[in-house]
Structures are given as C-alpha cells and as structure tokens.
Amino acid sequence: MDATQRIDPFGAQPTQQISPTADRTQQVGAGAPTVMGAPVRALQMECILGREVGNAYGGREHLLVEITGTSTGIGRRLPLNLCLVIDRSGSMEGEPIDYVKRACGYVVDLLDQNDILSIITFSDSVDVVMPARRVVNKTLIKEHIQRIEIGNTTNLYDGMLVGCQQVAAVMSEQVLTRVLVFTDGEPTSGIKDFASIVQLAAEQKARGITITVLGFGPEFNEELLASIARRSGGNYYYIQRPELIPEVFRRELELLMTVVAKNVRLLLTLPRFTQIRQVYGAQPNLQNRVVEIPQVDIERGAVVTQLVEMELQMRPPGRYRVAKVALVYDETITGRVERIEADAVMEFTQDVSRIPQSINPRVQREIEIQQLSRNLERTVLGLKTQQLSAAEVRQELERTMAMLTRQGRLQEAQEVQQALAALGSDTTVVEKTLMGTAYSLEVGKSKQP
C-alpha cells in the first residue's frame, strides 16, 4: 500500500534519473541496462499516513515523513567551512576562556587542509582571530588562539554577523558551511533585542548558512539561543561546566564530518481537496500548491521526522493521492542534487464503519512527541514565571520522562532526568536543559535505533 512505501528510485519510472556511478561504467550507446547494482543512496524516505481510509465527507489526517541517513560508511567526507564565534566578555575570565581555547585547539587538530576555518571573538566589538582560510599551519593558528584576551560586554549580534560574513565569502557547494556561536550570557551591547537577533539568523539561513549555538553557564538566554537554532536549522547545546566545553565542540565537529545530505527539503505537492493545516517544527514556504519544508542537515545514521497535518475536503469516494511527496537534497559525497519521490494515497469512503478508530502507531507516537515538546516549553515558561509550582513542574517532568522512555527517546529522557535532579537547587539548569530537549524533540532528529 502506498502509505508505507519504501522508495525504490530504480523502480517503475525510468524517467526518474538518479544513478551516479552506475552509468559511467557502461559502454556508450551499447544499450546496457540503466542500473548495474543499486549505489548507496545518502537518504531514504518513508511516508506514513495516520489512516489509510478516510471519510469522503472530509476530515483531518496526519502525514509522517521519516528520513534516514544511510549508515554505510563512505570513507570520504565533505570539506568543512567552519567559523568559531567566541564570546570573550568579562564573565568568561578564568576557566571558561581557558577551556574554550583548548576546545578551539581540538577543532584545529580535527580539521585538515581541505577544510576552511575562521575564528572570531566578540566582546564590545568583534576581533578576527583568523580570517577564513584553509587549515594548513596548525601551530600558527593555535598560537593566535592562545592570544585571545578577555574583554567587557557581550555584542552577540555583531559576532554572529561577522562570523556569517566570513563563511559567506568562501561558501560553495563543495563545502559544508557551519557557524558555531559560543556565548555565556545575555547580549549586553550592540543590537540586543530578541527579534533582531533571530531575524539575523533567518536572513543567514536564507543564504544557506546554518548556525549552531553553544550556551555555557547559568546566565545565557536559552530562549534566544533556541530560537536562533530553530530558525537556522542548527543544533543547540547547553554546557554546564567549563571542563565539558571541549567535548561538546568535538561532538559538533563529529556530526559535521558525518553529514551525508545537506540543503535538505521536503516538497509536498497538494492536489485539490488537500490543504495543509499544520507543519510541525518547521517554517514552510507555500507556492502554487507546493509546500516546501526545509530540514536540518542529516548525518550518517540519523533519522529525521517531519509531521504534517492535512485538512481533507469532501470528495467523491475512491482512491486518491492526497499528496505527492518529494525529498530533494545535496548529496555530500557526489555533490549531486538528488530527488526521491513518494505518493501518499488514501481511500475515501462514505461508510464510516470502514474508517479505523485508531491511527497508525508510528504517526501517533510522533504526534505525542510533538505534544511533549510543546508541553515542555510551556512547563519551562511556567517555571520561570512561577505560574507553576515546583511540585507541579516535578509531576509534569516525571510524566514526560516516563513517556519519553516508553517512546524510546532515551537521550531526551535522560536530559529530563538531569533537569529533575536540579529542580529545587538550580533552576537555570532545568530551564536550559529542557529548552534543548524541547527543541530536539520538535526538530524530530534522533539516532537510528
């Protein structure tokens, strides 16, 4: 049934050309078959509908798209175009800045001469420690890193802007671009307002630049950083203690080095009778009945889910394709733009007894997870504004942890547990941890089980 189709790109549609390497080895014009063994695809897509039978009089249904990054090792990786944007405001003095310097050193060690690195620091104003260039003289780069000095205030906006300018100057299809922004406090100088900073992230995203945020310590604004990550399609990290800083940088680098698909987007072509009611955890673009939903970069072995709620209108009974789903992405290994398609098909009937009561469990699970994410954010807000008592928050979090464990989201369950442990002693830990948890649930990324 089309609802749970696993896409075989070499199946029924010879017009759908994809194969990279297979054709090259053929004799030209020899009439050899199109396919000579299926090459490794970076991504696989599965489309699942809440129900496969719907009400001809109309109704609502969910569509879940699950995108999986291949777990096959490829050997090569895409060169990086990385910028480290480091906060050196007064509060970073001592251990924090020492560990950050160490972390930057680790990053330099992990990169090779095909990668491009730039390092920016900001306090009141912005310093270019290293302009964007290939990582050739590692010793020299590390020397420059050591010379970073403590400043005064936190001008996050300018830091972000200059960092993005650095990577933009050398950006191309041949590199994977990412800006890492590390900060330990609220923006205190330059453009400080929430909306403008998030808007900057949105503008950079439109140019193809993704920002990952690393928040350190108890003082940074987790709502601001989470919003930047959300708009940008990047990651959110909360680092509690300075000695953990290098490890987190390393983790992000590891992810970047295993990205198999970038510039990933889902295109839903909607026929008559179908409207989109909600797109969970993403900012869609609608144009001429095609909804474009950008996705995060996908690493090897990662699973990304996109949940969509459709409004289905009244129609004559029969079988219908309710959406044509296309996944388009840049495959990092070949550098090629690839496309996978699937049909979401339902049967519509006037006989309500044929319509199943419950919906597909996988879809149900994703709906619950999205609900959990929203509840978590509301809980954090309730805690901050003290509209919820500590007891209420505890109860909510315990329930959330149980549900996450049941759903198999162990990473997130563990984070909630950490938050629970800190409840009553350090609410900043609770807020900052849970903001990250809510965000990662919303984005729908997890590791392949």
């Binding site: 549609q13 050309q17 090259r24 095609v290 009244m314 129609r315 044509k324 733009v337 496309r339």
Partner: protein, 385 residues
C-alpha cells in the same frame, strides 16, 4: 536506454555554450536544478545532461555523435525555450495541452509523449491529466488505466458552508461549533494578528452565526466590529476579518439546508417515482422562423407522457417549488433540484445540491458539476441511493 540521445541538445538544456568549461556547466546545472525543483521531468533531464557533460569521456563521445546527428552551426545554440508553435500531434481528447518543454526534435517529442503516458479526463474533477503517475494531477484521484474513464458515484449530502480567503483556501464549516484561531482551532489561521482563540462560528440547521470570544485585534463583519460574546448571524457573501485576515462566507445553494418542508431521504431500495427522457426533435417551426421564435433543441418528456416541455437555448430550473420552469410535485424532489442548460446543439444538466440526487442513465451526478445530457437518455429525479 542509452546514456544519452545525440539528437537531444544537452548544452541547450543546461543553457551553456557547447565549449563551456566544467565549472560553468556545474554552476548552470546547480542553478537550473534549483529552479526546476517542482518539475520532475525537467529535473530528471537536467540530471541526465549533467551526468554526460560533467564526465570528459562521455562528453567527448556525446559531442562526436551529436555532430553527426545534428550537423548545424553552434552559434544558434538555443538559450531559453523557443516559442512552442504547436503541441506535437495533439490527441483528439486533448483540449489546451499545457506548453511542452523545449524540444529539439520530433524524436525527442515522441519519446517524451510515451513517457508522459496517455492523457485522459479525470472523472472526478473533469480536468485533462496524464496517466503516467497513476493519479490525476489536479485532484489526486486514482486513474485505473489509460482508457478506463469510468463513471463514479457522487456524494449525496448537503453542501456545507465554508470560509474562503483571497488565495482560494477553503475552510469548511461543519455542523456545530467551529473555533477560529491561531492554535488548535477548527479554522486554523497562521496570521500573528489572529488570537490563539479568536472567534466561534456555529452552523446549525442551515444558519450560520459568529461570535468573537475576546480576541485582541477584533472580529469584523462587513466592516463592523463585533462585540465580544455577542453572536451575530451571517449570510452568504459576508466578509469577515479576523485581525488581519479577511475571509468570505460561502453558503451552499438554497436547497436542503433549511427547507420549509424537508424532503425525506430515501433508504436504499426506494421505488422510482418519476422518469423523464430527453428526446431530440426537429425544429417545431419548419420553414422560415421569425426572429422572436427560438428554435427548440429538445423536449423534456416524462415517462407517463404527462409532461412534454420544449427546450430552447437557455436555462431551465427543475424542482418541486412552483417557481421552477419544470415543476415535479414529488416529495422526494427537492425544492430546487437541478437545472438544464440548453445550448443550440446540446443540453447539459446540473444537480444544484438536491437531497436525493439526480441520476443520468443510472449514474448519480456530482452536485454543481454540469454534465452533458445525451438525447434519449433516462434522467431520474426523486430516487434515493
């Protein structure tokens, strides 16, 4: 399938000169592939072209073969789509083929045509579509095969009121309470000036009322701001503004929504109450017709011979109410049941939303979709499913 067709101009497809560098080819490929994301066919062709032209061996081979297959000066390399003079051999059923992609030769056109499948008319939405996907491009209906354009049963039920916006989005209003707002609402509006819980619209017995539930930016009906918690009735065409979003109310036809005398809805095996046939007739006025006299296209005859209505070009309403042109005093016929659209050489019939439906040759009509009515065909009005 061979890797390339030397008759196809791959350089033109990528919009590069034949002596383009690898960088330029790559750059153009990426640029075009972005532009044609929605166009599956073009996307595939771009990928094929790039595969050939980005590989030095393949490119050389292609150039060699192309020079033989298409000997012509390179200066005339096509840039963008040349004007399409006529679609290649339009099949008789095709009306208004969408403009084909740029095609270098007729050979490519033939290949394209077979790859595109056969064009048929979708029985649901009546638009032209290709069968290659297996589904109608317009409404998604599953097309069984190239030839099977079978009739499908239509829905029997009253049409529901709906709110329509400027973009054509339709928000159907179901009987009962419909919440309007930005979060978890029946009518979900993503405009930030709309409150999370903005208003309620109640549909009951064919009447529609609206009530603002205390929104920040207000609810306006035809320019007048509503007092919160005070319900206000709405009629067809009312313009309702929620914050910054304007919607228009569309009410269904005046049929079975609030009938003064409700028609009973029949169970499955109900007797036929009336059968009418349309028969073609010669013009009533032989000889020179006067200007005022319109020629009769057909006659609407009842089975028992009691009724015989001449039909001239124009519209004839059919229903139970005396205000109709053709009155059928049968309780199973709706007040306004159907209309006949008579043209000089053919007759169309359209069900205007009757309760019990209109059947042409034992097939039920989709409400509000005009269907041609061949002469001598049985029309059943006043029969249940």
């Amino acid at each position: 399938m061979s890797t390339f067709d030397p008759h196809e101009d791959l350089y033109a497809l990528l919009e590069v000169p034949p002596d383009a560098s690898d960088d330029l080819i790559r750059e153009q490929y990426r640029k075009l592939v972005q532009q044609y994301l929605w166009d599956r066919e073009k996307f595939a062709r771009l990928n094929r072209a790039f595969e050939v032209l980005s590989n030095p061996d393949l490119r050389a081979e292609y150039d060699k073969q192309a020079a033989i297959a298409r000997p012509r000066p390179d200066a005339s390399a096509l840039a963008s789509a040349p004007p399409v003079t006529s679609p290649p051999e339009a099949a008789p059923t095709v009306i208004g083929t969408p403009a084909q992609d740029l095609l270098a030769t007729q050979q490519i056109a033939d290949v394209q045509r077979t790859q595109m499948g056969v064009r048929v008319t979708c029985p649901v939405c009546k638009t032209e579509t290709s069968t290659i996907d297996g589904y109608c491009e317009e409404c998604g209906f599953a097309l069984e095969g190239a030839e099977a354009v079978q009739e499908i049963p239509s829905l029997e039920m009253p049409e529901l009121p709906a709110l329509v916006d400027a973009l054509g989005n339709v928000y159907t209003l179901r009987p009962g309470v419909n919440t309007v707002g930005r979060l978890n609402a029946d009518v979900l509006l993503s405009d930030p000036s709309v409150s999370r819980s903005h208003a309620r619209i109640i549909v009951q017995n064919g009447s529609v009322t609206i009530e603002d539930v205390g929104s920040t930016n207000g609810t306006f009906v035809n320019g007048q701001r509503l007092t919160p918690q005070v319900p206000v009735p709405l009629s067809d065409g009312a313009e309702i503004t929620f914050g910054g979003t304007k919607l228009t109310l569309r009410m269904p036809g005046a049929v079975s929504v609030a009938p003064p005398s409700p028609e009973p809805v029949l169970a499955a095996s109900a007797p036929v109450t009336q059968t009418l046939t349309v028969t073609a007739e010669e013009e009533v006025t032989a000889g020179a017709p006067a200007e005022e006299e319109e020629e009769v296209v057909a006659y609407w005859c009842s089975d028992d011979g009691t009724m015989r209505v001449p039909l001239s070009p124009g519209m004839y309403t059919i229903g139970r109410r005396p205000s109709n042109h053709i009155v059928i005093p049968d309780p199973y016929v709706s007040g306004n049941h159907a209309i006949l659209l008579v043209e000089p050489d053919l007759v169309n019939i359209e069900d205007v939303g009757s309760t019990n439906g209109t059947f042409v040759d034992d097939t039920k009509l989709i409400p509000h979709v005009a269907a041609p009515l061949p002469f001598g065909v049985k029309v059943q009005i006043g029969q249940g499913t």
